[in-house]
Symmetry: C2
Subunit: 124 residues, 2 copies
DNA sequence: AAGCGGTTTCGATGATTGTCGAAACCGAGA
DNA sequence: TCTCGGTTTCGACAATCATCGAAACCGCTT
């Protein structure tokens, strides 16, 4: 892609018929709902930090038991925010023994990133 | 570029000390508020479509009079959503005669895009 | 100056959200 | 089977939000 200097020959439209940079074309209303839900999930300071901790976790996953003490809000509230992230499709959760581990979902992160990528110009 | 001699090839940290991909490092809590506000602004289907219409406008700007009839909600509500986008820093507005034109703010769009860019790996 | 069309502000209202404590759930040991 | 620590769900509440119609504002044009 543009960042690596290698042109992504064709914008890879997905099922919703949408993931081209928004600077190139208007987002179809059918796709706007799903995409807005993901952005909304990132639209809270706590959730944004949670997402960044999950995305940057060494090993690709992180335990709730490591997330909770990193904030000054209650456990149930952290759990609520993680649920919002999960329902938006940005993360997945897996229980192992007593602990639950969260991992990022790179596909959706890429899609949002590309959507905002104003430097990715349309083919000349 | 970077003030120190460290060869930050790609990542250009800004005043908040933050815009590296979230897959690389946790977002500082001081920056989370501002960034979350921008994501929140995009977290509504109407606003996301408005943003995409502004970002993809030929000539780099678009008139409110062209945005309003594209939706089935009232003028005041469109105006409200545009205000939210403006206050988040994603767009700017300029009045010329009776019409108001909105333009995207590429810097913030780039920052958000980079934040989500999971493929941008840290320097080896 | 008076009217007009485009846009924003104001005030109100129903819906959604972030937060908490209490309670329930779930695996692992004892 | 009983308890225990980690996690989620439930129920409640104050705060924020999306939306509307009415009113105000702002430049033209007459």
């Amino acid at each position: 892609m543009s960042k690596s200097g290698q042109p992504l020959a064709v914008i890879d439209l997905n099922a919703d018929g949408c993931c081209a940079p928004m600077a190139q074309s208007r987002i179809p209303s059918e796709a706007a709902g799903t995409l807005a839900q993901a952005f909304k999930a990132l639209g809270d300071p706590i959730r944004l930090q949670l997402m960044s901790m999950i995305a940057s976790a060494p090993g690709g996953e992180i335990c709730v038991c490591e997330l909770t003490p990193a904030f000054e809000i209650s456990g149930p509230t952290i759990s609520h925010h993680l649920k919002v992230l999960k329902e938006s499709g940005l993360v997945t959760a897996e229980r192992r023994a007593s602990w639950v581990y969260y991992r990022p979902q790179p596909a959706l992160m890429r899609r949002l990133s590309l959507l905002l990528d104003i430097d990715n110009q349309p083919p000349a």
